[in-house]
Symmetry: C2
Subunit: 275 residues, 2 copies
DNA sequence: CCAATAGTGTCTGTGAGACAGTATAAG
DNA sequence: CTTATACTGTCTCACAGACACTATTGG
């Protein structure tokens, strides 16, 4: 028979959480940054690459596989965002960078150990803010989007030594909002369901690029409009027209009196974010 | 000393989830629908109202308070979305309606019992799909957005008997994407942190209205453009101009040969969603 | 007739796409 | 001078905002 309580305080005194089935949670972080791709032509400016941080697992499960940095939530008083920040600090020594909750992944089979629900976060950083204080198992992977249509997404991640090929099938979920279920078609090239997190994060970043100033979280304090445009182009995976780009960006940046010279061609003005 | 495992299978045999701190999760559902607001003038068409479903808690904690329908996740094999669907079916007998993950709320104090992380879902439905098979503790509340600026959001929920006033302070989180932390300023007018879920969901719906066909999940099969426009207006909380609205919507709907008559004014054509 | 909504025509301003053109550094 | 990028001028087209206008019903 159910016991009758007279007040919330009385009820809580009797309540024992261990009476119920429980589970574990993790926060996983997709840390995205922009890298320079060296060119051999003294005139050409460096192309930009998008990079993400992966960590090599040195324990089971998925021992030896690459995965996103992440860690278990301490259920006693820690929030998921605090957990994400703690992990980020541990792996990269980065603090106070852009962090945004992405999505909660909860396929019961995503972790072979037990039920682990993962809330993923997207973090953005300007690579110049990175010191060398980084976990020796952590490494930047350049991101190349090979394919992204209504049927599938294909991404290649490469750190110069290892190459990881991600292939994800899209299944239309409902037509009104063009939403898809993502189904991993990878054979353990990356640990857990982190391929899904990566694809979801890249899409979120692409979308936000168009209606926010999010890009400036990945830029150094001073930059040329050409550099900024290249960053947009590598994230959106398409060429933009100069005049159109400059019109859009004009209201967001402020021209400084600094110039960038010595590039084998006309110098360009340095701008900064008009916060 | 750490034990060395030779394979993932061997590792998993030894793994005991109970060795780690655990927590509970719930799926909470913001079910949104559109209601008619009766008018006394025989000429005037009904205005539209936005409604959400709330449930009166008959147990501690928050006994007697209204809250969103929700339930504990069964960690053994159930996904959060399955959990949300199970709860929705139990409370409303609704199945196969629009369902989208909103956000994961995890303030450690959000549930006074123990650590409970909640993943919230937004569900949309056409009220005509609702039979009377509904939990007797569940009830529709009309939603009125009183205020929504950069400092605060204020919403009133009313079911004709009870009125719930939600007030949420916004604190700018970072300027590049205009993101805010939402801080509840309610004194337990609604249970848990469900005021935050409601505000987040309403905002998501407003945004998606502009770049998706999401609205048709709340419409009956046949509708007039006037009705559809009123639905947009009540969700966006502003008047739209007829010609502009018709231009935008033209590509999404299909005119049928049915007409809606007997309204005290010129009849209008019935349209349906051009799926 | 009136009230209320249905539905259309059209002007205007904004802003993106497109392309052509000029400017200027290093080598 | 050449090369590569910096930066600007301007045409066009699509489209949203705005307002005026006609059409059609019930009472």
């Amino acid at each position: 028979m159910k016991k009758e309580y007279k007040s919330e305080a009385e009820f809580l005194k009797d309540y024992n959480p261990k009476d119920f089935e429980q589970l574990s949670m993790t926060a996983d972080i997709l840390l995205i940054s922009i890298s320079d791709e060296e060119t051999n032509n003294y005139r050409k400016t460096n192309d930009k690459m998008m990079s993400i941080l992966l960590v090599k697992r040195d324990d089971y499960p998925f021992k030896g596989k690459w995965c996103l940095p992440g860690g278990f939530l301490n259920p006693v008083g820690e929030t998921l965002e605090e957990c994400a920040k703690r992990v980020l600090k541990k792996e990269t020594n980065l603090q106070d960078i852009y962090l945004e909750q992405l999505y909660t992944f909860d396929n019961p089979k995503r972790d072979p150990r037990t039920r682990v629900v993962s809330t993923s976060y997207m973090a953005l950083v300007d690579k110049n803010k990175l010191t060398d204080m980084i976990n020796e198992n952590a490494c930047w992977f350049d991101v190349v989007l090979l394919e992204d249509n209504k049927k599938e997404v294909e991404v290649t991640l490469s750190n110069g030594i290892d190459t990881i090929h991600l292939k994800i099938k899209k299944v239309l979920r409902e037509k009104t909002t063009d939403r898809y279920d993502f189904i991993s078609e990878n054979n353990n090239e990356i640990a857990f369901d982190h391929d899904l997190v990566i694809v979801a994060g890249l899409e979120r970043l692409r979308n936000k690029l168009n209606y926010t100033d999010i890009v400036f979280n990945m830029m150094p304090k001073y930059f040329t409009l050409g550099e900024l445009q290249k960053v947009y182009e590598v994230i959106l995976n398409k060429k933009l027209l100069d005049p159109a780009f400059r019109r859009i960006i004009a209201g967001k940046v402020e021209k400084t009196n600094k110039m960038k010279t010595g590039e084998g061609h006309r110098p360009s003005a340095l701008f900064k974010y008009k916060g």
